[in-house]
Amino acid sequence: MLPEERVGIVGWGVYIPRWRLSLKEIVEVWGFNPEQPEELGVSEKSVAGVDEDAVTMGIEAARNALLRAGVNPKEIGAVWFGTESKPYAVKPSATIVAEAIGATPRAMATDWEFACRAASEAIRASIGVVASGLVKYTLVVGSDTAQANPGDVLEFTASSAATALVIGSREESAAYFEASATYITDTPDFWRRDHSKYPLHGEAFTGEPAYFKHIVGAVKALFEKTGLRPEDFDYAVFHQPNGTFPLRVARMLGFPKEKVPPGLVTPYIGNSYNSSALIGLARVLELAKPGQRILVAPFGSGAGSDAFSIVVTERVEEKKYRAPTVEDYLKRRHLINYSLYAKYRGLVHRIE
């Protein structure tokens, strides 16, 4: 028995801000080709409000995950926060989340950094610490108010959202892990130096040698480890920097096209970085049936990918509606213009 098989998702929760920016606004302000949003397969992106950040969004997602899990927060042995937009360079976001949900003072708490894949590695680590019995539950949060240089193509998709998972024993889980695998290399596809406000990227270099190579590498490693094949999965959820890459990587791996859209949230809210693939997983959990198998493959620049095989249990039904769903948050939507978005995300600089 693999350690993964003893561990599962006891609860999940998401958060998406109310504010949305139509990508047409970015086309208009920066003079892009009007067809660019369609080529990216994204129509709008979610924008965190002026009083929101990765911590506030992470707290709401964590609360929703706890409602579904129905566990005592004091039993959470680790609060692991994956982000690349933490409010403080030095001072953990994880302790603020832990305090807000009532998991202090005996939980481990740390912020993880690996571009969009930090929370994903925290999931693999959670499997280890839960399977070993070191802790009963972990809380993994992937939350980002993604930054992009104004006028950069990245600005079309860099968005805000959070997803949280309570990870614990298989017996209590809505879905259990069957196996997992990781694939990492030193690849300079996307980076942000210290003191730089926005990340830079290697343009076309972010595709083949980064996103595609690493996700394919991780998923093939999972297939080799388990003997599973694309036809064994009911859903395939990938990191979703735009609306087209997940469909392309699915094709490369031999997954039929129809297994991807249920877990594809980016077309409606953009790429929420550490929450990108995980919010797709949450959406799939909210429509999946017991016994179905889900492939989840997050990706982070720098670069790396993890592949998880997850099997849904009968407990998914009772947990689904204990907290707001992805669809509830997708429906809560109010369009703002570029000026308000610029103010909300600090693109307009005031001297204090």
Binding site: G49, D51, E52, Y88, P324, T325, R332, H334, E352
Partner: protein
């Protein structure tokens, strides 16, 4: 304007979990928590967490002349709400809502937001704000 760190730090749990005190004698709930009931004078009070409780909006004001450091939040909306179960009256900022969308009696719920920050280098203070309840067609607990 720099503010003192300790009072914010001491109040963090009350803010994060919306902790009020409830009088064991007359049942009145007070927020922020108090060691004595302001209604009947009893010192027999217990702490209650209201973070999962919804509240009705009683009244609100839209502030256009804001304090230094709040310019990005203008107009600032401050409301007085009454929680549905414990009937605690709470003064708090309202968020995720436009002034034109507010209606007396509307149902709102507490969320944790950035309440203020000390410029670009100082601390960020988190606290309670209220937003309109997330409408959901799905069955939800604790309504």
């Amino acid at each position: 304007m720099r503010i003192s760190i300790p009072p914010f730090w001491r109040a963090r749990i009350h803010r994060y979990k919306l902790v009020a005190t409830k009088c064991k004698k007359c049942g009145v709930a007070l927020y922020p928590p108090a060691s004595m009931c302001r209604h009947c004078g009893s010192r027999e009070v217990e702490q209650v967490e209201l973070i999962n409780e919804k509240a009705r909006l009683l009244t609100w004001t839209v502030i256009y002349s804001v304090m230094e450091g709040f310019e990005a939040r203008r107009p600032l909306i401050i409301g007085i709400l009454e929680t549905v179960e414990n009937k605690a009256r709470i003064l708090a900022p309202l968020t995720d809502v436009l002034p034109s969308e507010l209606k007396p009696g509307m149902l709102m719920e507490p969320v944790i937001r950035r309440i203020r920050e000390e410029g670009e280098t100082g601390l960020v203070y988190y606290g309670i704000a209220f937003r309109p309840v997330l409408s959901s067609e799905s069955p939800r607990p604790r309504e």
